[in-house]
């Protein structure tokens, strides 16, 4: 039988901190949802209205149809999906090479990949602007896919290296004995076991690309090619911020990432745990 002391410890050391942390994390989300469902006049008023009554979807309709979030959403989804596929594909092979092969300069290569993460993106804007301009890629989503892939690949390759290291090399050796080529062994033995790692990599890269603002803002020069983060910034005017519209836009921007994390969370948690302890 559990003692009173056991339950007190359980409550104060486990449940209460969990509840407080949960409130701390979820309150901004609740506030955003609440704001998105209210008329503008009700948002900034006292006493504070905690539950929209009546609730309205007018902000979502306006954001989607009138402000152009449908277009921005479509662009963001396209850039993110293509980028994620490319990032994941290349990070498998980079991670594999870093994990399985010994070659001269491996540590220097790793170090250089890490240092790319320390470069402020703003520093790269003007050179990249000129390069993409010369390549006729300004106002083209391909420029975003290229730069997002480049910026995300280093981190995700290093992440993938940890996952590959966790797969016993004996499995590949067994596949080779059975007649598999090196590539075949990777596809038939390593990649299926890499599933949690793939999920973690895809999730990280998706969120990174989905939220990317600076490059999209600088390289896209027509509104038909803008992405969601730019659309969100445009809701804020010189002296006026339409809070309801901004909140509705944020929720729209949140949905794909939220759905993805809900669906992939099991793989994501196991993937992160697997990657965290492998050298």
């Amino acid at each position: 039988m559990k003692t009173k002391s056991y339950w007190l410890k359980r409550i104060f050391l486990l449940y209460l901190p969990l509840v407080l942390i949960m409130i701390f994390i979820l309150f901004p989300l609740y506030w955003t949802v609440r704001t998105s469902l209210m008329y503008e006049g009700d948002i900034v008023t006292l006493p504070i209205i905690y539950l929209p009554n009546p609730a309205t979807f007018v902000n979502f309709v306006t954001a989607w149809d009138a402000v152009g979030f449908d277009m921005y959403f479509r662009n963001s989804l396209f850039v993110a999906m293509v980028s994620v596929v490319i990032i994941t594909f290349f990070s498998i092979f980079t991670g594999y090479a870093l994990s399985r092969f010994k070659f001269k300069g491996k540590n220097v290569f790793m170090f250089m990949m890490l240092t790319t993460q320390f470069l402020p993106a703003a520093m790269l804007i003007i050179p990249l602007f000129l390069i993409f301009g010369n390549m006729q890629l300004l106002d083209n989503h391909l420029s975003l896919i290229i730069i997002n892939t480049t910026m995300q690949l280093s981190f995700n390759s290093i992440l993938m290296r940890g996952f590959v290291s966790g797969i016993p090399i004996e499995l590949e050796e067994a596949a080779s004995i059975d007649g598999c080529s090196k590539i075949g062994a990777i596809f038939y033995t390593v990649i299926p076991l890499l599933l949690p790692g793939l999920v973690a990599t895809a999730a990280f890269s998706f969120v990174g690309v989905w939220n990317e603002f600076l490059f999209a803002f600088m390289f896209m020069t027509s509104r038909t090619n803008f992405t969601l983060p730019i659309g969100l910034r445009m809701v804020i005017g010189e002296y006026v911020a339409n809070h309801g519209l901004l909140a509705a836009g944020s929720i729209i921007a949140l949905v794909p990432a939220l759905l993805m994390f809900v669906y992939l969370q099991k793989h994501l948690v196991s993937g992160l745990a697997a990657g965290s302890v492998k050298g």
Partner: protein
């Protein structure tokens, strides 16, 4: 179901979203940026109308800095009407989020990829002129029949932004600092003379409106982003002096020190303590929610107050009070349209600018903003008299008893001084870490140094 089969759901789901967004939207390609009640902007990537003559269509790109959902539909409808009226010029507009617009412009200039035209904020012009980024409009103005419709004072403000005295912008609207007060609270206190306040009356009213028992403060003080611009305006509005006299700023004169000490003494007692970090949205929220009875901003927050109160009798715009000299010492900020010097089509771009500031468009634009028009022909329109806050400010700005304190927007680093030197020091002063005298001395040193640099390196070059 295998893990792989389960995972196929993810790209399927995302793909379905992509299809849904491709099929679901009923806005035209490139559409968007419209508020529900506003006119629908034209497609940004629509094919230009074929010319009726053999001349090729000139394509212009116009960056819209005023790109929020309220303003963009108005500007885009003006662009659409221009395109409809033309068979040789086609303007494509590109909305740019305002907070990041200057960075976007700077990058484009660095990469020699600036558009043809843009709208600009007052404070950005001097820096761009210094870099020769904007086209000198004087040759075009000399032959433009509509020049006489522009309010001369606004053209003077624009010319003051260039050491050579040339105009690089056509004015679209002007704004001036405004005190927003709770008219009902003042009436409860028996105060009715707010339109003719001196600064002493302002302080007295704040103290009268403060009611701790109801958690009411007489004022909301802007201590966060934008604080320096507000306080700068208040100081010279009170003193009645010019910012620079004989090459030195008067900002740290003893009477200004005393004035600011009195104003900062309100902090925490007659203002919310959270005002230390308050920008314009926060003070507007304090005012709109009944926490504060007054705030210093400009005409731009009018719509916020309408949304918050839904009762025009509860709030009122009053001009900055009379100075100790008995004058209203004000400044006016001018926003307008400019052409980048790298344009291949200066004549066509100027024609587009003149369209944007014609009486009809200027009237519609300023009704949307709730600000002061720049076209003389708009001045007689009925809506100006019906909009009490605008007519009040028009009366104050145009009064013979009003002087200009010579706002140093012509200093290319004026905004930088405000944001990086004055604003942090203002917060330190409010927290009691430095004195008002130290704050104003610091501010004065920066302004004097900036003026020296300007006179030596810009005017003297």
């Amino acid at each position: 179901m295998s893990k792989f089969k389960k995972l196929t759901f993810v790209p399927f789901l995302l793909g379905a979203m992509l299809l849904a967004t491709a099929c679901g939207g009923n806005t035209p390609a490139g559409g968007g940026g419209t508020a529900p009640t506003a006119p629908t902007p034209p497609p940004a990537n629509a094919t230009p109308a074929p010319t009726t003559q053999d001349q090729p269509v000139m394509n212009l790109t116009y960056w819209v800095v005023n790109s929020d959902p309220i303003r963009l539909p108005v500007l885009s409808s003006h662009v659409a009407a221009f395109n409809d009226s033309q068979d040789r010029i086609y303007v494509e507009y590109v909305p740019i989020p305002q907070d990041d617009a200057l960075n976007r412009i700077n990058v484009a200039l660095s990469a020699n990829a600036a558009p043809d035209a843009t709208d600009l904020m007052h404070g950005w012009v001097a820096g761009l002129v210094l870099r020769d980024a904007l086209l000198n409009l004087e040759p075009h103005l000399a032959t433009w029949a509509g020049y006489n419709e522009m309010i001369p004072a606004l053209m003077d403000e624009i010319r003051n932004l260039d050491a050579a005295g040339n105009a690089h912008m056509l004015p679209a609207t002007s704004n001036t600092h405004t005190i927003w007060v709770r008219a009902d609270w003042l009436a409860d206190q028996g105060i009715t003379n707010q339109q003719s306040w001196y600064w002493d009356d302002f302080f007295n009213a704040i103290e009268a409106m403060t009611d701790p028992s109801q958690t009411r403060f007489g004022h909301s003080l802007r201590g966060g982003p934008g604080s320096a611009a507000t306080i700068f305006e208040m100081i010279f509005s009170n003193s009645g002096e010019q910012v620079f006299v004989n090459g030195n700023t008067t900002i740290n004169n003893p009477q200004n020190v005393a004035f600011l000490e009195r104003y900062f003494a309100l902090f925490g007692t007659h203002t919310p303590e959270g005002d230390l970090n308050a920008g314009h949205m926060e003070i507007t929220a304090n005012f709109g929610t009944g926490i504060a009875g007054s705030m210093v901003h400009n005409l731009g927050s009018y719509q916020n107050h309408v949304d918050a109160f839904e009762d025009y009798d509860m709030f009122e715009a009053i001009p900055m009070p009379y100075s100790v000299l008995g004058t209203r010492n004000l400044s006016t900020s001018v926003h307008g349209y400019s052409i980048f010097s790298g344009t291949d089509h200066p004549e066509a771009s100027f024609e587009f600018l003149t369209w944007m500031v014609n009486a009809q468009n200027n009237s519609e634009w300023n009704q949307t903003l709730g600000q002061l028009p720049s076209n003389i022909r708009v001045m007689d329109e009925a809506w100006l008299n019906n909009a009490l806050h605008i007519s009040t400010m028009m009366g104050a700005v145009n009064s013979p008893n009003t002087t200009s304190f010579g706002h140093p927007q012509f200093l290319p680093d004026f905004a930088s001084i405000n944001n990086n030197i004055a604003a942090p020091a203002i917060q330190e002063t409010l927290m009691g870490l430095i004195t008002v005298q130290e704050l104003l001395d610091l501010w004065a040193d920066a302004l004097n140094e900036s003026l020296d640099d300007y006179l030596t390196n810009v005017v003297g070059r």
